[in-house]
Each structure stands twice: as C-alpha cells, then as structure tokens.
C-alpha cells in the first residue's frame, strides 16, 4: 500500500480533476495493490485479516462509485455534492490504508515472508 499516500495527494490535487481516465487508473492501482495483500493473507491462512481489508476496500469501491456518479461531467469541481463525495472517497482510501498498516504491525512478521517473491 505504499502508493496510498501518493494516491491521496493526487486525489486532493487539481490535476486529478483534469482527466477522469487518470483518476480511474489511480483507483484501479490502489484496488490492485490491496487485492495483492488480501490474496497473500488468504494464502497464509489469515482469513480474518484478509476479510477486514476486503471490507475496507469494498467501502472504498462504493465511495469511488458515488464519486463518479456525483461528479460526472463536473469541471471544475465546484459542486458541493461532488466535493463531498471526493472527501468521502479520500477518507475511505485513508481508512483502508489504516487497516493495512494496523495489520502490518499486528500480524507476526513471518506472515509476510515471501510476499515480495512473486
């Protein structure tokens, strides 16, 4: 999840609004990174931890959908409804990142052995 901070910074920046393709690319990258962690945890038998991150990412995907619905065709992003969904989406990404960080500190270190070997 090292991309999370870059993603949050991008989501807050003006450039983010100029290109919805760019936005979706970032969101997909974040989802892909998270999925890599979830798959690894399930492979290591850490189903509960995987479910927590899965749930947080489900909330993030829902927030992305709400954002896309509210902000379709809105530029610049001066619509209050659109800005609210933008904030909600960034919050959801932050929460997912927090879940991943908590797991990193709570799970035994050997769970991650081999994670970068794929």
């Amino acid at each position: 999840m090292e991309n999370i901070n870059a993603w949050c910074a991008s989501a807050r920046g003006e450039d983010f609004w100029r290109d919805t393709v760019e936005h979706r690319m970032w969101a997909d990258r974040l989802r892909d990174d998270a999925k890599g962690i979830i798959i690894w945890l399930e492979l290591r038998g850490q189903d509960d931890a995987a479910a927590q991150l899965d749930e947080a990412m489900g909330a993030f995907r829902q927030a992305v959908w709400s954002f896309e619905e509210a902000c379709r065709g809105v530029y610049p992003a001066d619509d209050p409804g659109c800005r609210d969904t933008q904030d909600a989406m960034i919050d959801a990404a932050g929460r997912a990142s927090g879940v991943a960080e908590d797991m990193d500190s709570e799970l035994p270190a050997d769970v991650w052995e081999g994670f970068f070997d794929a």
Binding site: D28, R31, D32, K35, G36, I39, W40, E42, L43, D47, A50, R61, W65, E68, E69, G114, D117, A118
Partner: protein
C-alpha cells in the same frame, strides 16, 4: 498459453467500448469461463479453499453483473457500466495475483497427490480418430440400427398429432441425448464433429427428429427480446457457438468436454471420500500434463466415487 488475467484484459480491450452482450458472446469470454474453472479446481485440489471460494464468488459476481447489464439494455458501454467494470476488474486483479504466485501456490500446497490411481478397464467412449466420410456414414447407420427401437419410439411420439406438447418436448430432448450431433461425435470417437453434420445418414435422421442446427439468421429470429434470468450469459455464449462455423463448433465440443472433466475432478475433491483431494490432485496433475484424456480422468473419478457402473 496466455494467463487468465491477460485473457480478461484482452476481452476488456476488445469490448470496453461495446455492449455487455458482445462481451458475453465473445470468444474471449468463453476462454475466461474455461480458464476460471481450471484455476478454481487447481486451488481446491491444492487445499487453498478460501482462495477458491474467493474466485468462485468473484466470477459469479461478474456473471451476475453481465446478466444485469445484458437484461437492462441500458445502452451503457462495458467501461461506463460501473458495476460491471468493478466486478470484471476485481476478478482480473485476483486472478492476476494468483497467477503471479503460481509457484508459491504449488509450494504452499496442503495436499500431496496419491501415488497410485485406479486403472480403469478400457471401456466406454472410444478414443478420437480420423474417419473417411464413407466410413463415418456407415458407422452412423450402424449406430442408428442398434437403437432402432428407441428411434422408432421417438418418431412415433413426434409424428403423432395426438401427442401432448410436453411429451413431444420430452421426446425431442431424448432424441438430442441419443442422436444429437455432439453425442454421436463423442460416441464414435470422431475428431471433427463437422463430419457428422456433413453425413447424409445423420442429416436425414436429424431432419426426421427435428434436430437440425439453426442457421445464424434463424437462431436470431426466435431469440427472445428479454433473455431468461438464470441463463442469459450462458445462452449468449451458446448462441455464439450455435452457428454453421464448424471450427467454432468443434472448439465448443472440446471446451464442453474439458469443463465437464474439470467439474468431475472438483466433485471428487469436494467429496467426503478418504484421500479425495489427494486423488483429485493426482488426476488434475495427469490431466494438465496430458498424461490422461478426458475419458480416462472421468472413468477414474467414477471408480473412486464408487459409481463406475454409471459411467458412460
């Protein structure tokens, strides 16, 4: 062989700007279906049940999203239908990570394959071989002659104006099961099923029993405007194969056979039998390596599950 994640990507590249129905009918989607079955069975026979449940769940979510998109006819492209896009990409991310971790999935397997599998007697379906059209015509005549009483029985129901619609439906179904093109191709071990379609004895039989394949135009003409809830996606896929394109039809037969074999391995792996997963893993390994044919695998499953008497 391309990875499943790459096949999904290629399906998206080809159909992201198009309608969901075109994606559902595409050759790439048929490949996705088959490769998903392989991956899912591989996870089960290696003891990675929670990962198998995950891809089963995500594959079903894609099918459901496709079905809703096809049925709603909302005019949205695949890329603009967020629910569909999300389901497809979630599935793609998952299979991509699983494929990248292929070696680890094997090394972290919880299952050791059994060393010895039963040796089925050579029976049932003959191995596929090449035929001349003349030989095949004779074989089909013989096939029909051996089942003459069933054939006449079916004809008498189908030709009788007094037969009820439901008994005619049942008779047509039985006719397909006994004399359908693919059934005969399998029963006789015909490599190319198009030879059965070209066989005059089969064409005559199909005409009498009402088994003729529809042309593309006819198939479209009676297609309902609203696609049935449970089968929308499968039907779209089947329509793609239901053409006069023999190469595609042959590929469809091979695909069906492989999927059926995978279903059988999965059934064994998920059974309560002792050493079920270990045996299923040994079968899957042999099947993957090309050491066993579809029929040999299925006969093994039938023997292991104690229902080899039922094996056809």
């Amino acid at each position: 062989m391309p990875d499943l994640a790459d096949i999904v990507q290629s399906a998206l590249d080809a159909h992201a700007a198009g309608q969901a129905v075109d994606l559902a009918r595409s050759e790439q989607w048929l490949q996705v279906r088959q490769r998903y079955s392989e991956l899912s069975v591989n996870l089960i026979v290696n003891g990675h049940e929670s990962l198998a449940r995950r891809i089963d769940r995500e594959y079903q979510a894609v099918r459901e999203a496709l079905r809703l998109s096809v049925e709603s006819q909302n005019g949205k492209s695949v890329a603009d239908d967020y629910a569909l896009w999300e389901a497809v990409t979630e599935f793609q991310f998952t299979v991509g990570h699983l494929e990248r971790r292929h070696r680890q999935l094997n090394s972290m397997s919880h299952v050791e394959p059994v060393k010895q599998l039963p040796k089925p007697a050579s029976q049932g379906v003959p191995p596929k071989r090449s035929w001349t059209q003349g030989e095949l015509d004779d074989a089909i005549r013989e096939y029909k002659a051996k089942r003459a009483s069933s054939y006449q029985g079916l004809l008498s129901v189908l030709d009788d104006p007094k037969s009820s619609p439901s008994s005619k439906r049942t008779a047509r179904k039985q006719a397909k099961e006994l004399f359908g093109r693919n059934v005969i191709a399998r029963a006789l071990g015909v490599k190319s099923a198009k030879m059965v379609s070209q066989s005059q004895p089969w064409v005559a039989m199909a005409k009498e029993l009402g088994l003729e394949r529809k042309t593309g135009k006819q198939a479209g003409a009676d297609r309902p405007t609203r696609i049935g809830q449970d089968i929308a996606i499968e039907q779209a896929s089947m329509n793609a194969a239901d053409t006069d394109d023999h190469a595609a039809a042959d590929a469809a037969i091979l695909r069906e056979e492989r999927e059926e074999t995978l279903r059988q391995i999965r059934k064994l792996a998920e059974s309560e039998l002792p050493k079920a997963k270990e045996s299923a893993k040994a079968l899957m390994d042999s099947f993957d390596e090309g050491e066993m044919t579809d029929d040999q695998v299925r006969q093994n499953v039938a023997i292991l599950m104690g229902c080899d008497d039922d094996f056809e």
